[in-house]
């Protein structure tokens, strides 16, 4: 390994993914029909390879740190985020394989776009300056816009793409404006330089604060914080379910990861963030939960729930300027892992259970499924318990670490609101389980499709992950 430049080895997962994307495109172009059939397998292989690479890098003792003259930083945190994004993408690929076959929409470009999105996520996770950050964000977002509208013959899918795109670019404008203001104030784009600049005492310059506020708008949009969340329920609902899995987990993980790094490392000083974050957290949790409460479609409920879950993350992030960066990043990364496992699992389950054209996403459609397909239903129940934050699932541990972080730094009121919300959320999560197991089948036969082996394996891994994640040794 020593003979290779460090830029090559430390970023190997990224290169693998990029190479994979190109290979998939070539395959599609050169082989046509056969290439299409092989593309999910190839994409999966590439992702597994990259994941192995990430694990290997995580197991190495020394971390290379900053590379490309400070444009990226490879440390345990970014590698963990990469791992989570890969996990999300891998699950999406598995969910997509059977889903796309059912919808008769298999193409190589789809998987290439996933890989391109992943490389965007990587860039975001690794970014250590605003420009890299912005490029990564755009790379990820562009791929995401297209994926959301992938089933363009369906109005819902295209509408989702439209909404996602319009709001995404709009928010990018704000984000970019924020970067501009920060750049204007400090003259630098690198996070450590910004930190250095802020430490010199020009912290409360209104320019910095306004810049940070606008930055927050852009980031808030990406991670769907209320009131920047308008798109999220519609997009997650309208996009094909496997894509929704990717959008709500991988994309969010990368955005939240970078968000956390930005505020923990670049802005990690006591400042005016706490009230702003707290207000966002409260709004996001509460409105997200209330939105989910009124839904009759499980998929849309999950969409709102992912908004609410971002609110819990914000509870932890509210301590960003108070807690050590390490603690914060650890708590956030763990929560993202848990969140990815359960949310991706839930959306993937919808992809399986909703049937052709996603006609069956309502609560009523899953009546008595627990008796018909006990193990698949049990997996969904497990995801729901985890989302509701019940022990001993990963969801509980994730919330626990976040709340603990906030509480340890005196944010009692915020945690109480979070707890209250968590309580409300239990109602609609459990409602899914109620329909699965406790409502007798009435009238029409519900779905109860056979689950292919790859799906079963994916769900089993998800389920095991949800159960075990809290007890596993975390990389950092």
């Amino acid at each position: 390994m020593d003979t290779f430049p460090i830029e090559l080895t430390a970023l190997l997962p990224l290169w693998i993914v990029v190479g994979g994307a190109l290979a998939l495109l070539l395959l599609e172009a050169l082989l046509g029909e056969e290439g299409r059939k092989a593309s999910p397998v190839l994409a999966g292989t590439i992702l597994v390879l990259a994941l192995g690479c990430v694990f290997h890098l995580l197991s190495l003792k020394g971390m290379p740190g900053s590379l490309f003259q400070g444009a990226v930083v490879v440390d345990l945190y970014s590698l963990t985020l990469e791992g989570i994004c890969l996990l999300s993408a891998l699950l999406t690929c598995v969910f997509s394989a059977s889903y796309l076959r059912r919808e008769r929409a298999v193409t190589g470009e789809y998987y290439a776009l996933i890989l391109l999105a992943v490389s965007g996520m990587f860039t975001l996770a690794l970014a250590s300056d605003f420009l890299t950050f912005f490029v990564g964000l755009e790379l990820m977002s562009l791929a995401a816009y297209v994926l959301a509208g992938y089933l363009r013959v369906q109005e819902r899918s295209t509408e989702a793409a439209l909404k996602y795109f319009m709001l995404g670019v709009f928010a990018s404008g704000f984000l970019l404006y924020g970067i501009a203001l920060l750049y204007g104030a400090s003259g630098v784009l690198h996070f450590p330089d910004l930190r250095h600049f802020l430490e010199q005492g020009r912290y409360s310059s209104p320019l910095v604060e306004a810049g940070a506020a606008l930055l927050l708008v852009g980031l808030g949009f990406k991670v769907a914080l209320v009131p920047f969340h308008g798109w999220a329920p519609d997009v997650y609902d309208g996009a094909p379910a496997p894509v929704a899995a990717l959008l709500s987990t991988g994309v969010k993980t990368a955005a939240f990861g970078a968000f956390t790094r930005l505020f923990a490392e670049a802005f990690g000083l006591p400042g005016n963030w706490v009230p702003a974050f707290a207000v966002l957290a409260v709004l996001t949790m509460t409105l997200g939960n209330l939105g989910a409460l009124g839904q009759e479609s499980v998929k849309r409920m999950l969409a709102y729930s992912s908004v609410a879950q971002a609110g819990y993350l914000m509870v932890g992030l509210s301590a960003a300027s108070l807690a050590p960066a390490d603690d914060l990043e650890r708590a956030v990364a763990f929560y993202l892992l848990a969140y990815t496992l359960m949310t991706a699992g839930a959306f993937g389950w919808i992809a399986w259970a909703a049937g052709k054209g996603e006609t069956g996403t309502g609560f009523e459609d899953y009546r008595g499924l627990g008796l018909k397909c006990p193990w698949m239903a049990f997996m969904m129940a497990l995801f729901m318990f985890s989302l509701a934050g019940m022990t001993p699932t990963a969801g509980f541990f994730g919330k626990y670490y976040l709340f603990k972080l906030a509480l340890d730094h005196g944010l009692l009121g915020l945690v109480l609101v979070a707890v209250l919300n968590s309580f409300v959320s239990a109602y609609y999560y459990l409602r899914v389980v109620v329909f699965l197991y406790m409502k007798p089948v009435e009238g029409k036969e519900t779905a109860g499709l056979p689950a292919p082996l790859d799906l079963r394996v994916a769900f089993l891994l998800c389920g095991l992950g949800v159960l075990a994640a809290g007890f596993l040794k975390f990389p950092f």
């Binding site: 013959v153 990018s172 609902d237 849309r300």
Partner: protein, 105 residues
């Protein structure tokens, strides 16, 4: 008169802010998808003006680099945006934003 003369970077910045505002107003108020897209371009260009100004203030060309990147990204966005427009048009033969509200509630 000091507000208007001499020209300081603040003038450019305010100009940029106003342009950004026009872009925002356009996106918010227009139902025509094309106009909305163009308004988005206006917003990005307003930010570009700020970058260039700050570059000039700080005597550092990093801002210019950012602007070049933004131009490229804007191109990519326009490309995807137009593709979405086409897809929508194929569905409804219209490019009216208000027509697309099947996802709600």
């Amino acid at each position: 008169m000091e507000i208007f003369y001499p020209i300081t970077p603040a003038h450019y910045l305010v100009l940029s802010a106003v342009l950004f505002g026009i872009g925002v107003a356009g996106v918010l108020s227009r139902k025509n998808l094309f106009v909305a897209l163009m308004s988005l371009e206006l917003m990005l260009n307003a930010v570009n003006l700020s970058f260039v100004t700050f570059s000039r203030v700080n005597g550092d060309v990093t801002g210019h680099v950012v602007v070049l990147f933004v131009v490229a990204i804007a191109a990519a966005e326009a490309c995807v945006g137009l593709a979405i427009v086409i897809a929508l048009y194929r569905l409804k033969e219209k490019v009216d934003l208000d027509l697309f509200k099947s996802l709600q509630g």
